[in-house]
């Protein structure tokens, strides 16, 4: 199976966290194109300009916050198939429940176990590719 690298939109306002995650993704060759934005509005603009394969989304962001970005993606028929991985420091049950209510595809709490995180990103990428190549196979 060809391991097509993913285009990832990475929404994170903390530079240090961004650096850690990007290093891991690059090191494990998950994604060959990672676009990083630092707030919710920029994320929505970037998605509108060019929908990524996967969105990696922090919850607490300046201006438009992460849950609003998630709501906007999953509520838009043109975008709702884009897998969204919520990546946040919050372990609050209310946040987890709200994220899944809004149809987040995964919820990962930082600090991540990096191998598990990489595997998750790979799986989501394959899932997305299979789905979008053969929309008819959707059950």
């Amino acid at each position: 199976m060809s391991d097509r690298p993913l285009e990832i939109l990475f929404v994170e306002d903390d530079d240090d966290h961004a650096e850690l995650v990007m290093r891991t993704l690059v090191e494990h060759r998950v994604g060959n194109k990672i676009t990083r934005v630092t707030d919710g509005q920029a994320a929505l603009d970037a998605i509108a300009a060019r929908p990524p394969d996967v969105v990696l989304l922090d919850l607490r962001l300046p201006l438009v916050d992460g849950l609003d970005v998630l709501r906007a993606i999953k509520g838009d028929p043109a975008l709702h198939r884009i897998p969204v991985v919520v990546l946040t420091t919050s372990e609050a049950e209310s946040d987890i429940a709200r994220a899944y209510d809004l149809n987040a595809n995964a919820y990962v709490v930082k600090p991540v176990e990096f191998q598990a995180f990489v595997d998750l990103m790979r799986d989501l990428g394959f899932f997305w590719l299979a789905w979008n190549r053969n929309p008819g196979t959707r059950s």
């Binding site: 903390d14 240090d16 201006l63």
Partner: protein, 478 residues
């Protein structure tokens, strides 16, 4: 019924004596064949009005003796059996009446004792007690009722009970009673309910009312028990207000804990994450990256300390506020500007302070802190403004002063006007500041009993931060 033991009853004693004297005179003068001793019965019967219970027997004994004395004085002669029969019937009637009167006096005594006891109970009863005739007239009005309705019993007795009710019940009461008497369908009778009464001075009084119907010798009477629940109402209102405040505090605390834990964890993620890369960098001999990562860790640790300091400061505000003093606002503004002199010069910002700033009431250190924060923000968020300018002024509100810090800087989108006051909220992603400043300012203003808000038409239109403080009162001025 009148008290049978009253001193005015001595007339009965006198009358009884007169009757005895007259009867004796009559008995002595008349021939023995007449029933001359019979009026003695009247003297005994007058005992009904004599407030001394042995009286009827004493009267009967005296009358019996006198009757026999007359018999001894005048021998009966040939008609002796008529005379003896006559005297015997008189004596029997006298003693029968004496017994009846004595029983009556005992009965009266019991009734009056009961009445006194009931009266004492009625008057010491904490609840108002009122009895009402079927036509609505007040028949009894105890002391508690006098207190609750603010009118003496003398004013209430005989009045229509509707005078104790506010409109529209006052007008409708006659209909309630008519309907009840006709259909038996109660409005309050037999049901306890909280209603509003009205005092003699027209003031409303909340009462707990229970009404029962009693049948007295075929007459319908209503008894009402009335409890003043002003205190209970006030206590309930206070309790509700406290609960609401407590719930607000609780929600605030929950939000605070959530935000604090989330944001405090963030530097830890950084520290943990980069610690993991140090070893590899050392092994690879990549000292450049090693140094960079160590710096990141140090930065995160500093940031953590800053967050904790800010949190501590925030929590102190609620507890440590000096009692409010009269503060000349002009001086406070000058202090705040002095401490920010460097930043203001560096930004080339023109600051205009309104003349004649008022005197406000508050804690000098805290209010200076508020102004420092607002001015510092204004300087920091000037954007690309070529002629940065800050205006500081005040205007009068109702019992408060509205103080404003207006800038012509980058402005704030109305969508975020509330969000910016949240803990750790930052609209710009600069590394300066922890997002505590405005939360702190809001807390200080709220502790002073004021409000804080921002006015801005949006990006590029500048912003105006306003807050209120109580105007200086004589109490705080002294």
């Amino acid at each position: 019924m009148a008290d049978p033991r009253g001193p005015q009853r001595s007339w009965a004693l006198v009358a009884s004596g007169l009757v005895v004297a007259l009867t004796f005179a009559l008995d002595v003068t008349l021939p023995l064949g007449y029933a001359g001793a019979f009026p003695y019965v009247i003297a005994v019967a007058l005992g009904l009005w004599v407030p001394w219970r042995p009286f009827p027997f004493v009267a009967a004994a005296v009358a019996s003796a006198l009757s026999l004395v007359v018999l001894a004085l005048k021998p009966p002669g040939s008609l002796w059996w008529i005379v003896i029969g006559n005297r015997t019937i008189t004596l029997v009637a006298m003693w029968a009446i004496a017994i009846a009167v004595a029983r009556y006096l005992t009965f009266i005594q019991v009734v009056s004792d009961d009445r006194a006891r009931m009266g004492a109970i009625l008057d010491t009863c904490a609840d108002g007690l009122i009895t009402i005739a079927a036509d609505g007239r007040i028949e009894l009005f105890n002391r508690a009722a006098e207190r609750i309705f603010g009118r003496p019993a003398a004013d209430a007795l005989g009045q229509d009970v509707a005078i104790l009710m506010p409109s529209p019940h006052r007008e409708a009461h006659a209909d309630y009673v008519r309907r009840y008497l006709a259909t038996g369908e109660p409005h309050v009778i037999g049901l306890g309910r909280e209603v509003e009464g009205v005092r003699a001075d027209g003031a409303p009084v909340p009462i707990d009312l229970a009404v029962a119907e009693v049948s007295l010798a075929g007459r319908r009477v209503f008894t009402a028990s009335v409890r003043d629940i002003t205190d209970r109402r006030r206590a309930a209102a206070e309790r509700d207000a406290l609960i609401t405040r407590l719930e607000q505090k609780n929600a605030e605390l929950e939000r605070f804990t959530y935000t604090a834990s989330h944001d405090l964890k963030s530097p830890l993620v950084t520290i943990r994450g980069f610690l993991g890369t140090l070893e590899r960098s050392a092994r690879d001999g990549n000292f450049e990256r090693l140094t960079a990562d160590i710096n990141r860790i140090a930065g995160a640790a500093d940031r953590m300390r800053q967050l904790l300091d800010d949190l501590l400061e925030l929590s102190r505000i609620g507890r440590v506020v000096s009692p409010p003093r009269a503060l000349p606002l002009g001086e406070v503004v000058r202090d705040a500007l002095e401490s920010l002199d460097g930043a203001i010069r560096a930004g080339g910002v023109q600051v205009v302070v309104a003349p004649d700033l008022p005197v406000v009431s508050g804690d000098a250190t805290r209010i200076t802190e508020v102004l420092q924060n607002l001015i510092e923000n204004a300087v920091k968020f000037m954007g690309e403004q070529p002629a940065p300018r800050i205006e500081i002024g005040a205007r009068d509100g109702a019992g408060e002063v509205v103080i404003f810090v207006r800038d012509n800087g980058s402005g704030i989108d109305p969508r975020y006007h509330e969000k910016i006051f949240g803990l750790f909220e930052r609209l710009r992603r600069d590394r300066e500041g922890t997002g505590v400043g405005l939360a702190l300012v809001r807390r200080i203003v709220e502790v002073h009993g004021g409000r804080l808000w921002v006015e801005s038409a949006g990006e590029g239109h500048g912003s105006c931060f306003c807050f209120t403080l109580p105007t200086v009162t004589e109490e705080s001025a002294s």
